[in-house]
Symmetry: C2
Subunit: 254 residues, 2 copies
Amino acid sequence: MSKPQILISNDDGIHAPGILALIEAALEFGEVTVVAPDSAQSGMGHAISIAKPLRIYKEALPHALTGYAINGTPADCVKLATGVIMEQTPDLILSGVNHGANSSVSAIYSGTMSAAREGSLQGIPSVGFSLLNYSHEADMSTAIAAARAVIGTCLEQGLAPGACLNVNIPDLPLAELKGYHITRHAMGRWIEEFAEREDPYGRKYYWLTGSFSSDDIVKGTDVWALENGYVSVAPMTRDMTDYPNLEAFQDWKF
Amino acid sequence: MSKPQILISNDDGIHAPGILALIEAALEFGEVTVVAPDSAQSGMGHAISIAKPLRIYKEALPHALTGYAINGTPADCVKLATGVIMEQTPDLILSGVNHGANSSVSAIYSGTMSAAREGSLQGIPSVGFSLLNYSHEADMSTAIAAARAVIGTCLEQGLAPGACLNVNIPDLPLAELKGYHITRHAMGRWIEEFAEREDPYGRKYYWLTGSFSSDDIVKGTDVWALENGYVSVAPMTRDMTDYPNLEAFQDWKF
């Protein structure tokens, strides 16, 4: 049997340490193709480029791999990878390792998860990985080990077409990792605070900042798992329908 | 009782015909504040601006309204509106009217729906509107009438905190509209085709194009309702967990 074709993307850019960690983890499982943004795309949500032309640049990567850098978003990268660059449809799409958490509602804003979700929308099993450390100098050894474990299990169990997993990894030495939990996304929200500044011409501008707030950090959620030293593996949907409330709206008259 | 505070945003930009139509529809129901991107932001998904400072520009709008234009994404607009611009939390957030459909999986890519979803993430009832006509010269009279009907019902019934509705409107004369359907998002996908071009220097570039494909256009879905002349009102979730498949993953060992 031929080796699985694995597509790797991310949102921190093709030369970010996190994507190199994911390449390390994936290489033993299959043939790796890397298609990633040419610059950082954090917070890009599921953006796609419809108003500008996209370009593909070949770039050298470790392990004698050729990477494809794209002047676009993570979702663009997956679209170009499957539509133009790769000769066959990948068996698995991996995104990350993101520098920083993508748990709870952050999955909505996340460029990392948009690459995985784009794969899922195309019917390709996809997994996004995030490490709970924003620094580009973070120790990636636990992330590499966790990614290996998850990739191995996904290939062994057969992640279904269109399935998508949101994997978040605590920033702990491997020996302190407690294990893995299948989780749901905790409900919560970002409480925005805007840092107001003034430019040299007296005009105001604002930096978006904020802190995460949740009253839903209970066992079974991703945030609970992470706070207790577990890798969180949260199955993520591509169906935006609010099913629990669908029935209640049926009586509404317009 | 004081009039409801209504925040209006969109993704086509603060001077797009669609947002003017939505202002027309909303004015009779409450006090309107308009905070929208200073340029077109179609396909921006749920992107937020974390790497650049945001600016707020006041701009004159019809009905002697002052609008606030932002150099950011639709989600940025809602964040700045509730965090900086508005004195009180809005009772209702409206986004659109988008020039073009946002049914099925397009809801994921849609900047229009990201403004509504950002409101929903903040616990504010939110509705996004889209007309099935991409032209900025489209006749907005049916969209205005449909938006009035939906806004009226939402205020009357009391759309729950955090609820989000994805409203798509057929491009039909009002007299030919069949009515309204509460729907789920049809499952489907965009089949990408990239138009390959060459620049004057012999370098290739790609335009993203594609066509929508679905084998799920059955009664009860948004796409079915639209194809049959109904306004589609699809409740949209902010919880990304794949609940139907959550249990099956519990056996996985990593």
